[in-house]
Amino acid sequence: MKLRNAARLLAVFLLTVVAATTFYAEGFAGAAPRTRATIAFQELVTSFDPPTDWAIVATWIHSNIGDCLVWRDRRTGRFVPWLAEKWERVNETNWKFFLRKGVKFHNGEPLNAQAVKFTIDRILADRRILVYNQWTFIKEVRALDDHTVQIETSATEPAMLSKVAGTGCQVLPPRYFQQVGPQEFARNPIGTGPYQFVEFRKDDRVVLKANPDYFQGKPPIDDIVIRAIPEPSTRVAELLRGGIDLTVALPTQDWQRIESNANLKLVRYQTTQTIMLGLRTAPPWVTSDRRIREAIDRAIDRSALVKLAGGGTITRTRVTPPTLAWHPGLYGKPAETMYSPDRARQLLREANYQGQPMTFQSTNVWPMQKEVTEAIAQMLEGVGIKINLQIMDISTFREQVYFPNRNRELYMDGLGNSFFDPWIAVLGYSCIRNQRTDYCRPDLDALIQAGAREMVQEKRKQFYYKIQEIIAEDRPFINLYHMMDSVGTTKRLQFDPAPDGFVWLGKARVQ
């Protein structure tokens, strides 16, 4: 009898726990009358306070709730008026931004110059804010009147517009922010953006509703549900089932499945990411010999890698279109990719390479990266280079190789450029940031500094062309290909993904 009682008790307890926490939801309800789109990302935000979360998905979500002064057109790389309807450079270090009138935050608070000043001052006052360093180019922000704000930079700043459109640029409502404090704001954000925050269930979903007073007009979709689905195959399954209308970062092996489904479409886009190799350029590393670095470059068939990765554009530069000053002689030229195994073998002989093993460290974070790494290792072995291949997960790679600068002869990297300006793409070539390559050329440093200060665009381009040519010749980095990625959507959703994959839903529609 006791056994039966115990079993009954246990079963009743478990059933109660499960049932009580389960069958509560609205899930059995009928169809909602409002238009709604559900999208899925790998993760959601950790905070709705824009400058405190720099993950790419977070910046997409922030951009749907808040607006910046200017907007980067991701197809042309040009800047278009957004909260600032126009701007002018007053002198070498001062810029005026003229704000759009009549714009209100979701709580009715007016957008004005004080709000812009508050947003930037607040970042500059807290070193713990992750994007703090991206904003230190600003010396002072002054509200000249209600709708004019003057930003003074510490030095001439040709990338001004790129930087004020960078991570954490969404203008905050000062009254609300001060009233509730940063922690509450991070949970219940207010912005001027196309969508208003409704609900956040951590690791589950963010619910947004259309802002009827949006300065560009009410968005066509009434409700947006953004779900977190970390597993790529589950995201694909949801898309196939029709549970979501859009998802990103689809596994290459699922592209065909999505393309062949009558209700779905796969949109492949060129990311801002360049896949490259980083090389040690100083003794005692065997790659300190320029001829060996060139041999490595010539041994790699970039076209084969692009094919293996499922698409992309071969490149010998990290400054890729539409970024200012991308080098037409180094980007997208299959005939000039240096591929020549015979020349590679000859260079190795000239350098008296004796088969010393080279450690090649890589990770598996980008599409087909493991396969691409293995292919490169085979190509290098093919010309007689002995490779010790180490493929590790991204956290281990960052902690044990990348960040402590413990990389050896070769490592694979993938770097993006969400600023669409070359200043950030060439930063890693300077002597003070050479911990992973040992590469240092004072004349190159001078060019990097000149490029970062030159206000005449044509002159500036020339500095960056020269920098790219030097890097392609010296090879502290061997750029391989400009990576592609994909977005899967249902056909009922009318959404044209930006070339860099940025998900802004202000103009998206559902049929």
Binding site: F28, T52, A228, T234, G243, I394, F403
Partner: protein
């Protein structure tokens, strides 16, 4: 019984302290957490050092450890640097979802294992036994991850009977719970079978049979009760396995419990969350084992805790 309970609870304290210390050390052995935090390709060494100071990672490891231990009794595991919020509440608020999934998996696991194990033992070497044993071996060989994806493809995408992922409705619970429950059932089925095989050969079972009692009464009232004691012992240990499975299954089904939080925290070296999460898991496992020990008294009246 009360003295026994008090003693067991007190015994948990040094174990938990040891677990907390191991977590603290292991996480730091893995490397520098700032590497996960910082946009490293555009930061100089000085800028990274500044950030390290701001988060207190520049302090000697002993100071960091003492700080950690002193705050532990208050449930203060520090601030998550991804969320910039105290870690413990972040973990605790996800616990109900994880317990809901684990509870459902336990029900499914026992629901499958009990009849299968008993029938396989009673009809030893029959086709039923063969099927039950084969299923249990097969189930054991299937990784949770793969089984979960297969269930999604068949029942959610192919047949469209159940939702793919999420936690909106009760139906969302079914596939992840089955994924986890099958793993548990496979272990329990084999144990119940072998334990029952041993018990049904005992004299008291033969006596019960010779008294003319029905098969049902013999099995349910006499054999099963004793046969379950070793099974419960293993079940207590399986709770840790189950929680390990929860972490994977939550990822596959986008179930917003502790598992998802922990995976992200481990990948990003969000130390405070990992510390709080492992600590909570440890408490759950120890509490489950205690519960199982107490359950013995119901199964066997001869067992007394003084």
């Amino acid at each position: 019984m009360q003295r026994y309970l008090a003693r067991r609870v007190l015994q948990m304290i040094p174990v938990l302290l040891l677990i907390a210390t191991v977590i603290f050390v292991v996480i730091r052995l893995k490397g520098d957490p700032i590497s996960q935090l910082a946009p490293v390709d555009i930061m100089s060494k000085e800028e990274i050092d500044d950030l390290r100071r701001a988060y207190g990672f520049d302090r000697p490891i002993t100071v960091q450890y003492l700080d950690f231990i002193v705050h532990l009794p208050r449930g203060d595991f520090g601030e998550s640097f991804r969320y910039r919020q105290p870690a413990f509440p972040l973990v605790i608020e996800r616990l109900p979802k994880t317990m809901q999934l684990a509870g459902a998996a336990v029900l499914i696991g026992w629901g499958l294992a009990l009849p299968l194990g008993v029938v396989a033992a009673l009809r030893r070497n029959s086709l039923t036994d063969l099927v039950a044993t084969t299923l249990s071996v097969l189930g054991r060989a299937l990784p949770n991850f793969w089984l979960g994806i297969m269930l999604i493809l068949v029942f959610a995408v192919g047949l469209a009977w159940l939702p793919v992922s999420g936690s909106d409705t009760g139906w969302n619970l079914l596939l992840p719970a089955v994924t986890l429950g099958v793993g548990l059932a496979t272990t329990l089925t084999r144990l119940i079978r072998s334990s029952m095989l041993e018990v049904i050969r005992q004299d008291y079972v033969q006596t019960a049979r010779s008294k003319g009692l029905s098969q049902r009464t013999v099995v349910l009232k006499h054999a099963l009760r004793n046969g379950l004691i070793p099974v419960f012992t293993v079940f207590g240990l399986q709770v840790a396995y189950l929680l390990g499975g929860v972490i994977i299954v939550e990822q596959v089904f986008a179930w917003p419990g502790m598992g998802q939080l922990m995976v992200k925290a481990v990948l990003t070296r969000d130390m405070a969350i990992v510390q709080a999460g492992v600590f909570v898991f440890a408490v759950v496992v120890m509490a489950s084992n205690l519960l199982v020990d107490l359950l013995y008294t119901f199964l066997d009246p001869r067992i007394r805790y003084e």
